[in-house]
Homo-oligomer: 356 residues x 4
């Protein structure tokens, strides 16, 4: 019989549960063998939905790590556990797929990177779902082919549908802020299309609280604008929002010297259009998962494939840290109201005044 | 000073009034010198809106024909007067732009054609507005260029917005039926893109009364499907409707052996899209004039140019008759429930049974 | 452990191989236990791709039927075997998912239906993939909700991309003709949206050979137009083609008294648009499978679910026969050049002349 | 006879000639009575194209101002003459429609404003063409209606098609820079939709020279990103480019707390789409005039109407100065590499260091 990757999922909240099901049902070369969560509600769900398929359920991560034959772990619990669990899993010689962000702290991220570098035989990936989306990949191939010339400007946005509850406010407590949480995807895209080695030149961020005044308590905004300049004539500009009326509208434009690629310029839920007395109408994906479900499934399959076939992951773990560094700088710019400049090796230029 | 064409408009109903204003305000090389209508209400409008600009107002067509210096007449009154007025205008050596249809009777149409042929120095045009529309002309140029190979299939529809009043029912009294009134435009397009010399092979028409049962009184339907086959491997299929919810949706597909041209596949009123809680929404032109206003203005300008510069019109008057012949055959097919076949010179094949 | 449906696939050609993989990899509640094909090339593929996963490979259908524990069979081999194998599988008390068409012969189809009716405990489905497509289902829900009023007109097309090889010609030998092979999907949609109990009133079909003259040898055309009228004021009109330049363009419009639903009015491969010196450009799915892959996967999952959970299939087997009856009538109309009429109980009206 | 406004046009370069023809041919209530240009080539054109229609041709602006009966002047010559000629025309009691920009100098602009304020009976307008575009007006009405809640974020871009000649480089000598020349339209839109009285809080601008290195000689860039913050929680972000491959792509998004309006999200030349072997394709307007021709015609008509009917212009002259002030600040930010902050009454905050 064919060997299947033995996988466990840690954290069975909204995204964790989805990861568990992706590995259980939609990743043919993997076998979900274990899952854990300290929360009784999550455990109850797992007993009902996973256990009957032979998945062993744990309430403790470190116990689960000892599961016999376990080869890989998906770390998908609360953000503050992402890095610690990843590091322990690496230490236990498990491959790791960690939900983004590794951490909202650069230093902690670098700890994960360091751990991973000590075990080069392990696949350690951070889950940037758009990297697995067919349209973003098509765009990458077109960039690669040179069809649009040298990529010079990138516009990208991550815009969530407005929610009537206080979800975004609760979430802001630990999300690290809108640039680190939402625009991190756009930053990662910019690094993908501009090149991972792009050197930061400046960042500027602004934001407002148009609907969610309570976000201010956590220093967060509900609409953010960020401009990120790289040395060598490359500028990315970002928009993030928590108040879209229609739904999830994540759009990206990649503008080269000889052409432009637009990804998701016309958001749509499916291929249906309604002609009604009020005009022509179409629905829009409501959530990030509605838009990127298939990308998450591709992610679980390619993570599996990398390990089983000894392939290199489609992107480096260090990229997650580059993206976070930029997200962090944007958060700082938002906080201080200042543009932040960087020298030609990407070090922040501290103003004289401050240095005195 | 530059010479301007001296034009009069006969009939100041909805379309006639528009023609008058197009010649008054939007046809720089023409001068509207006269207008007539027997209806007091129309006359009152003309007194107020046209007379102050030096337009002489008549209540009698033949009186108007004698207007000194008059060179051209737009015939835009009731359908039954189209042919008689056109013929008298031609007899009086006036150029003629006649609203469609020349007549719903083929015989009468041929009378106009005969009159026009006796005065080859005159420009006599029938107003097929789509012939002047920028998008349809772009399509014609692309067909001409050979980009889509040999045109083989045409799909075309003329679909009006539903009205809550009895307009369409009243209109059916004299319109000649939905194929002759609405699809006549699509038939004309088919002749344009297939070639005016296409020889009819068969017609089939079906229809229903989905919302306007009263149309039945006049033998008319509110939704019609027509299929028109030409010798040499060319088929056009048509749809017409009086019950569109969103607005005027006239779409055409020209399918060649090597490509397809779509005209107005995505109806839109303007360049605005709304993102709302219910999704993404856009408005649609509400009426035929909303969609084709600019084409009507181009029509008045080109009619003028043909006369002043001695140019040939963009299409032949005889084409209007070819289109009506097909429309008539579709109406007959609708009425009889039979497919009608034609021989290789386009003569109807009468079944043996009937001939006995 | 959870029970999984034990499934076998018969026929490992292009679609059969896909079905096998869908059940192997993308149908969590099913287990592919066997597969068969008489062709050595297909067997070699199966040995390499399926056997390592515990799938038993057979070269004989009847041998496979005896596979221990087998519960369900997917019949996906050559068309002429669809019905015989389905009937034998039913006789052996297996659930059956049969690729369309059951047969190109109505009589044979009815044989399958009869067999199925004798075993009401079995799930016997015919694979109309669009029934499982998210957009067509969304349309069905909207029809159901009454948002567009009474469905009155349906336009639907199945248009394949042109191929430079002789695939379509070879295929025509046994396909039954373009209306039975391609438009059968559109006919099925019409029955879905109009109601399965719609009574046929008339059919008319026309066709041409615009690029594939060799199809004539088999009485087939490369572009077909069909009009199907049902009693009670319902008309569907269809287009099928084998010569689309851009790709697979299957579009459907469902026109009700109070609104219109468009499915796939704007074909697109993914969410990417290119802005180039020649304008704005997007790619189109190249094949039927490109467009409907996910629908096929849903099909395998729902077939499984129906059996395991004792649910009713989303549509009746008899619907496949209703669709074929209409497709057959269209083929006859194409062949004879006649419109065919049916009385109010859907029986063909034979003309006096012919009866004498 | 009806009174027509007596208009003259100064400057018969590309846009001036268009203005002249708009008033000659497409502004029914105006009469073009004079035109002037010092350039012999422009004069030759005017003699041939305008004089035959009774337009008196001058080579001197001040001579033209004395033209008997002249009521209004369109100032459309070189930018440096916009303000001086406008001021002299106002002094001579003529209504003025001045092409944008009034001047690239704020001080000079204010001189025009002062002159205009001394003659409140005169209509003095600056030509912001988008203010007359049907789609932008539709957007304004929707904003006004409250449908999208409080406008919070505006994204707007002015992107020209790449040219192979040195037009943009030559043009940069006197254009004032990309933010003052191109994004000035977007700034004006932001003021329109946010409210003319919005108080500037900060500006940040960045730019690159991706294709036109020679622009650097004049301190200009070929791609610019600007972020403009207003007090009260409003942010506009802009993009301008001179290197679009496909054509003119001016897009605007107006994002409110409860909805979003997109203007020109899908640029298109007309209603034609091509299905070709390479996919689906559409053309894009090539120039600013291609996109806004009808808006310019509306402008000439409404300017005329304001004067003849004593109406207020659709926007204030002072708005042009507010826009320029912001454009100027963006240019300064680009030049210095600094974010510029403004206090709550819109005065630039000069850093301590600088003040010492």
């Amino acid at each position: 019989m064919v060997r299947k990757l033995q996988v466990a999922v840690s954290g069975l909240g909204r995204m964790g549960a989805r990861h568990a099901l992706h590995f259980l049902d939609r990743t043919p070369r993997a076998e979900l063998v274990a899952a854990c969560d300290p929360d009784p509600k999550a455990l109850a769900w797992a007993k009902q939905r996973l256990e009957p398929f032979g998945v062993k359920i744990y309430n403790d991560f470190d116990e689960m790590l000892k599961h016999e034959g376990l080869e890989a772990v998906v770390v998908a619990g609360i953000t503050t556990e992402h890095a610690p669990q990843s590091i322990r899993a690496i230490a236990a010689d498990k491959h790791v797929l960690c939900e983004k962000p590794l951490s909202t702290s650069l230093e902690i991220c670098e700890g994960v990177l360091k751990a991973a570098r000590q075990k080069p035989q392990l696949t350690v990936m951070c889950g940037f779902s758009r990297r697995f989306d067919a349209s973003y990949r098509d765009a990458a191939n077109r960039v690669e082919s040179g069809d649009i010339g040298r990529v010079s400007i990138i516009r990208s946005q991550t815009c969530d549908k407005h929610r009537n509850d206080d979800y975004f406010v609760q979430y802001a407590k630990f999300s690290g802020g809108i640039f680190v949480d939402a625009n991190i995807h756009d930053i990662d895209l910019a690094l993908w299309y501009f090149g991972q080695d792009s050197v930061l030149k400046s960042v500027t961020a602004l934001g407002i609280n148009a609907r969610l005044a309570d976000l201010k308590k956590y220093g967060d905004v509900d609409n953010g604008i960020g401009v990120v300049e790289f040395w060598g004539g490359k500028i990315a500009y970002f928009y993030s929002s928590r108040m879209m009326a229609a739904g999830q509208t994540d759009t990206t434009e990649i503008i080269g010297t000889h052409g432009k690629i637009v990804v998701n310029g016309n958001p749509q839920k499916n291929l249906v259009e309604m002609h009604e007395a009020t005009g022509i109408h179409r629905d829009v994906p409501q959530t990030y998962y509605d838009r990127f479900e298939q990308a998450f499934v591709t992610e679980s399959n390619e993570f599996t494939e990398c390990i089983l076939d000894g392939k290199k992951p489609p992107f480096q773990l260090s990229g997650a840290i580059s993206a976070l560094k930029i997200g962090d700088a944007l958060q700082k710019s938002l906080r201080t109201g200042k543009k932040i400049d960087f020298n030609e090796i990407g070090e922040e230029i501290v103003e004289e005044k401050a240095r005195l």
